[in-house]
């Protein structure tokens, strides 16, 4: 059952990702990117990592996708204009793929059988974040607050 679900979700995600890379209109590409993220969230659900999947949906679809779509809307004169073929993108994609393949092939202990781990509940993640990882969490919070205030200051400049 779960392997069938894996195949279906893979096809769905790959199709959406391909659409995001190849569609002529930039806005369509951005929306298919959001669909691909739904597929990745579904993978996390399939693996039993509910929290990570939900956080992915929350952050990437609720915020990042809307941000991308707005950026396209506000910066482009013709949001529907065709985009040309981008050779540097191909080069980067091939480089990333090659690097990943190399590191996967080089890895010594590639165990296919999943090790037995206790279910990753939201409660355990919360406890880990609030005890052993409290300092990184606070630092990230501080950084994000600074970024937020910085963005506000950039925008708030008034005309006199």
């Amino acid at each position: 059952m779960s392997s069938a679900a894996f195949v279906i979700i893979s096809i769905f995600t790959l199709a959406a990702a391909l659409a995001a890379a190849t569609l002529r209109k930039l806005m369509h590409a951005a929306l298919s990117f959001a669909v691909a993220l739904v597929g990745i969230a579904a993978f996390f659900f399939l693996l039993g990592a509910e929290f990570v999947g939900l956080a992915l949906v929350f952050i990437y679809i609720g915020a990042v996708a809307v941000l991308i779509v707005f950026t396209i809307l506000l910066t482009r004169r013709h949001a529907g204009k065709d985009r040309g073929f981008n050779w540097s993108g191909v080069a980067i994609a091939v480089a990333v793929f090659g690097g990943l393949t190399w590191s996967i092939v080089k890895t010594q202990s590639l165990s296919i059988v999943a090790p037995h781990v206790p279910a990753l509940t939201v409660k355990r993640i919360g406890q880990a974040l609030m005890t052993s990882y409290v300092w990184p969490l606070q630092c990230v919070g501080l950084l994000l607050t600074a970024a937020l205030i910085g963005a506000l200051v950039l925008v708030m400049e008034e005309k006199r």
């Binding site: 369509h28 929290f51 956080a55 679809i61 809307v66």
Partner: protein
């Protein structure tokens, strides 16, 4: 006797599933999921039809007129007539619109609204889909509404649609923050993101009389009010219907929609309202628990529906009473008042917890909330009575 009525739906489902005894496990699993989905859709689409006519009746009563009274007894068959009208209307798609995005926007917005209904406990053992982070699921899925609204506004290729969508997204983003942060005190006190656990934590009575609902603690009451107001904004209803202000931008992101697609938007708005009210009931009003021990003979799902109905009535009442707010007033209110108050609720809940959750904690958390509320009221009172308005805008 009362126990068997309480579990009637659960037993009915088990009886239906017993027909499948002997078939492989995944068939039973899929059948169980399908029954849940079917029941959810049946109940909430009926409720949508009922509320759409009741709302018109109640609004009419508040405005001293009759309201719909021609179709069926007391106009109760009005939704059927409306549905037929919407179905046979011409579906107009603008020539310059983005056909696919224009079509997908109402589908996505309705799907998201229905998905959020899945995690709410409607009665004892009556949660359609029990997942570990149910509350998180509700907000994660709900946040896709903004993308759907943007798709509607952009896909229509119309300036009114785009303006409406931008307003809608601005207000939904701003009020999503107090909406989620006002849930955090409950999650903190219960120590779980599962709706069933949150409802279970509100069982029992203080002094054998007052139910232990979170709405009866100072932090819970404040968070409940913040949550309800933010929920009202999220569902884009009067007095917060700036995105579809018909006097300024026709109908906002729904300008270019007609016929059944418009009806889908309408349905999504109502189902979103049911979902937010249902979650407010679960979080603050004790879910399906009865308000007194003697009333526990009445089945749990009836209590849930009564509380849901009360909240919906308040939403309709507010719509019939208040005029539309201005967009800058709304934004100021969200960032300067709602957000600090939501954070205060977290502190007050912590105070309540560490003062042993008794009468002392109750009073101390009341003090925290009262102090912050008064301070905010004094700080935000600008004292400028009739000054020329200062415009602030991004360059």
């Amino acid at each position: 006797m009362s126990k068997s009525i309480d579990q009637a739906f659960v037993h009915a489902k088990q009886w239906l599933l017993s027909w499948l005894a002997g078939s492989p496990g995944w068939v039973v699993q899929v059948a169980s999921i399908l029954i849940n989905i079917f029941m959810l859709l049946a109940v909430f689409l009926t409720l949508f039809a009922l509320i759409s006519v009741l709302e018109r009746k109640i609004l009419a009563r508040m405005q001293n007129r009759y309201g719909p009274n021609r179709v069926g007894p007391f106009g109760l068959f009005q939704p059927i007539a409306d549905g037929i009208k919407m179905l046979i209307k011409e579906d107009i798609v603008p020539a310059r619109a983005d056909k696919i995005v224009h079509f997908l926007a109402p589908v996505l917005i309705a799907a998201v609204a229905i998905l959020t209904l899945g995690v709410i406990p409607y009665g004892r053992n009556m949660t359609p889909f029990t997942i570990d982070g149910g509350i998180l699921f509700f907000f994660a899925v709900g946040s896709a509404t903004e993308l759907a609204v943007f798709m509607a506004g952009w896909g229509s290729n119309n300036k009114f649609s785009m303006l409406g969508a931008m307003r809608a997204i601005a207000q939904m983003f701003s009020y999503e923050l107090p909406l989620i942060i006002s849930v955090l005190p409950v999650v903190m006190v219960v120590g779980s993101l599962t709706p069933d656990r949150i409802v279970a934590a509100q069982a029992g009575y203080t002094f054998g009389l007052v139910p232990r609902w979170f709405a009866f603690t100072p932090w819970g009451a404040a968070a409940f009010i913040l949550f309800s107001v933010s929920g009202l904004v999220e569902s884009n209803r009067t007095p917060f219907d700036v995105p579809e202000g018909e006097s300024e931008i026709v109908a906002g992101h729904m300008t270019e929609y007609s016929g059944f697609k418009y009806a889908t938007f309408f349905m999504a708005e109502y189902i979103g309202m049911f979902a937010v009210s249902g979650l407010a009931t679960t979080l603050f009003l004790g879910g399906w628990h009865a308000p007194a021990r003697i009333l526990e003979i009445i089945p749990s799902y009836v209590w849930f529906l009564v509380k849901l109905g009360a909240l919906l009535f308040v939403y309709i009442w507010v719509r019939g009473t208040l005029p539309r707010t201005r967009i800058d007033q709304m934004m100021n209110f969200a960032w300067k008042f709602m957000l600090p108050m939501a954070f205060t609720c977290i502190v007050a809940a912590a105070v309540w917890h560490y003062a042993s959750r008794g009468l002392r904690g109750w009073l101390w958390s009341l003090v925290v909330i009262a102090v912050v509320y008064t301070a905010l009221s004094i700080l935000l009172d600008t004292k400028r009575k009739f000054a020329p308005r200062v415009y602030r805008f991004a360059e």
